[in-house]
């Protein structure tokens, strides 16, 4: 089935398209040194709560130094997956390695390398920002002589030096988020996990946090984040895993996911009404998914041209083949423009205006997870 533009995409079926996960298993037995292992390795991961299966056989690997996004609708299994990775929950089946270590068997070693920013921030709101950081430093065994300098540096990083002595309860949502991130970085973890890092913060704070996360990556840390903001995932993440109903439905770079599962739209305003043969010719171009016309046949009166909205790209569930088979590169559909312009020229018409809209990650997400509401 080829989804039409604007039509609801069928909810994901059993098959998973174009998911190529390279899972290294050589570290499982501890043969490979931890430094050589992926930051996170998830293999055949399952988690059941009674008869409910929250995670149904996940496989993915997070490379060291990348920002890896975990996307999915509510109830898709993101939090369960994260709890499993953090060692807060125990898998029913499958295996997890964090920096080459089993988080259950080497809980303390993994925790020392893991900085976590929970969605609810988990800050002591009755205490000051400095006291929150000091407590974290003590729990993580940061030597007393190093604590003041590290805490000061983190407060500076979070731009909270002026509020170090204020109660966290008086902070805005953005300030709390910044403080929570600063706290997570205080013990200098190799892996940072952020759960909805910009939930409920304003645009300025969101941009600041994005910069913060990117800077963290630049320092060589691996970042795992979950988010419901697809724009955020698009901007920050090197790769994205989209999970739904406990299963991995896609894993790729944001650009590839957009190209593969989203649709570019070319809007063409012609010098005259578009005749039927032209429309048929356009529909026949490989990679064109659908057409919508406006003003065809001169309905808008003399002097007005026809306007055609052309959905490009071969993506979508049930598109009937991979990209290579369509001859369309994953370049947002721009490569189809010459063929479109040629068809218009053959029809004896000119182009008054042409625009190409990039495919959005939202479309890919909806194509993969469906449009039905989740609780």
């Amino acid at each position: 089935m080829t989804p039409r533009p604007g039509a609801a995409v069928e909810a994901p079926g059993k098959e998973v398209h174009a998911v190529h996960v390279s899972v290294r298993t050589d570290v499982a037995g501890g043969a490979a040194p931890p430094d050589a292992a992926p930051a996170i390795l998830v293999s055949g991961l399952q988690k059941r709560f009674g008869s409910f299966t929250a995670v149904a056989g996940l496989d993915f690997a997070v490379r060291r130094g990348e920002i890896f996004g975990l996307l999915g609708p509510n109830g898709s299994g993101k939090t369960t997956t994260i709890n499993l990775i953090s060692g807060l929950s125990e898998p029913t089946a499958g295996r997890i390695l964090v920096l080459g270590l089993d988080p259950r068997r080497h809980a303390d070693a993994v925790r020392r390398q893991l900085g976590v920013v929970p969605q609810e921030t988990a800050l002591y709101e009755e205490l000051t920002a400095r006291r929150n950081l000091a407590f974290h430093a003590e729990l993580f065994g940061i030597p007393a002589r190093e604590r003041p300098a590290r805490i000061a540096a983190m407060l500076r990083l979070a731009q909270l030096e002026g509020r170090a002595g204020s109660r966290v309860g008086t902070f805005s949502g953005g300030m709390k988020r910044r403080l929570a991130i600063a706290r997570a970085l205080l013990h200098d973890p190799a892996l940072l996990y952020l759960d909805e890092p910009t939930l409920g913060v304003d645009v300025q704070a969101r941009r600041y946090i994005w910069d913060y996360i990117l800077a963290t990556k630049a320092e060589g840390r691996t970042v795992l984040l979950t988010t419901n903001y697809l724009e955020e995932a698009n901007v920050l993440c090197d790769r994205l895993a989209i999970i739904d109903r406990g299963r991995l439905v896609a894993l790729d770079t944001p650009a590839n996911l957009r190209a593969r599962y989203g649709a570019s739209v070319a809007e063409v305003e012609l010098t005259g009404p578009a005749p039927e043969p032209l429309l048929r010719a356009l529909e026949g171009i490989p990679g064109v998914r659908g057409l919508e016309t406006e003003g065809a046949g001169g309905a808008e009166g003399p002097g007005t041209g026809g306007r055609i909205r052309i959905s490009l790209g071969a993506g979508g569930i049930g598109a009937g083949g991979d990209l290579a088979a369509t001859g369309v590169a994953a370049d947002s559909g721009g490569s189809l423009l010459p063929a479109i312009l040629s068809a218009i020229a053959v029809a004896g018409l000119g182009v008054r205006h042409l625009s190409l809209r990039e495919p959005a990650l939202d479309e890919a997400f909806l194509a993969l997870t469906g449009r039905g509401l989740r609780d």
């Binding site: 259950r104 303390d108 925790r111 609810e120 002591y124 205490l127 407590f135 729990l139």
Partner: protein
């Protein structure tokens, strides 16, 4: 070593939270004092029956009758100048009864003629009224026993087991120490852990490389600090109002029992907080379980160690043993058989079991599942 360091960090943090919310801390420390005030008022108001007494007899036996009424250990006698004044006291509820020693009482007694005390009773308060009904015949008997001993061939001889009496006020005032520990321990321990769950800050603890026992130890340590202050406050007030130990040498024992019992209830509080995870569940539990347990365990008087269900409950819990230790220290007697070895044995066993229970409950509540 890192576990101990973590426990110290958790302890400091918990105390910092207490300082940040001083009102809640102060209130939890004042709860036992409230009980002390309540119980003292109860003892003062319920201990003796206020009675207006009108002396109308001019002979030698009138004052002897008044003394006999006083010796009945029931009345708080308040002299009235006239029948109207006595009635006014009754009307104002300053007195529960008016007792008039009639004119000619001495003459009648001396002549072996019948005589009557005139008693007007506010019988709406059955408790007080019954006290008066019981005490008046005893006072009359006491009068004859003292004033005309030959008229009563049957007598009695009292041998006291102890060199002093233990007053009701003294008894219940000491037992306040136990309630301070019981409620303070359950509240401080329970709220300390439940608060972490409610705030969501439990994640900070779970994701830190620290063992569960260290968190429990820190919570108990912080509760111990605050609970000790609360208990010492009660102890100080007891000393101020004149309730003092038999000998100052008993104080180390008092402090030891206090510390051990506090450890028991702090640990049980931590266990409850770990399993319930909600402040509004922990607080009613502390009061709902703690107070009945306190009352059946000898708060108002020594337990009758018979086969009653209440006694079985009291026997099973450490409250009665702590109370017994305090009574011994302050009043010089053991309200249960077994004495010090039994008390210390029970409290030590309870402390070990409660600490183990708290660690188990915390681990269970935070275990990966």
């Amino acid at each position: 070593m890192s576990g101990l360091r973590a426990a110290w960090a958790v302890l400091k943090n918990e105390l910092a939270l207490g300082r940040a919310e001083p009102l809640a801390t102060i209130l939890s420390m004042l709860v036992p004092l409230n009980f002390l005030v309540l119980f003292v008022l109860f003892a003062l108001s319920g201990g003796r029956v206020p009675a207006a007494v009108l002396q109308s007899d001019t002979g030698p036996y009138g004052p002897a009758m008044i003394r006999a009424l006083g010796d009945a250990l029931t009345f708080d006698l308040q002299p009235a100048g006239s029948p109207q004044a006595a009635q006014a006291m009754l009307n104002r509820q300053d007195a529960v009864a008016t007792i008039t020693v009639p004119p000619g009482l001495s003459r009648a007694v001396a002549g072996g003629a019948p005589a009557q005390l005139h008693v007007t009773l506010d019988n709406l308060n059955a408790d007080f009224a019954d006290d008066v009904r019981r005490a008046l015949p005893l006072a009359v008997l006491s009068f004859y026993h003292t004033a005309l001993p030959r008229s009563l061939p049957l007598s009695w001889r009292e041998v006291d087991s102890y060199p002093h009496n233990v007053g009701f006020l003294g008894y219940i005032a000491v037992s306040i120490l136990t309630v301070a520990i019981l409620l303070g321990g359950l509240l401080l321990g329970g709220r300390g852990v439940a608060g972490e769950w409610e705030r969501g800050t439990i994640k900070e603890l779970l994701l830190a490389p620290v063992p569960g026992w260290a968190v429990v130890a820190g919570k108990i340590g912080a509760g111990f600090t605050t609970g000790s202050c609360s208990s010492l406050l009660v102890l100080g007030v007891l000393l101020l109002i004149g309730v003092r130990p038999e000998t100052w040498g008993a104080m180390p024992g008092v402090l030891g029992v206090l510390a051990l019992t506090l450890l028991v209830f702090l640990s049980l509080g931590v266990a409850a907080g770990s399993l319930l995870r909600r402040l509004n569940a922990v607080t009613p539990l502390a009061f709902g379980l703690g107070l009945p347990l306190f009352f059946v365990s000898g708060a108002f008087g020594p337990i009758a160690w018979g086969g009653t269900a209440a006694a079985d409950v009291a026997r099973a819990f450490p409250v009665a043993y702590a109370n017994a230790a305090f009574q011994h220290a302050f009043h010089g007697y053991w309200p249960l058989l077994g004495g010090a070895p039994l008390v210390w044995g029970v409290l030590l066993l309870w402390a070990a079991a409660a600490v183990a229970c708290s660690v188990w409950a915390y681990r269970r509540s935070t275990a990966a599942h």
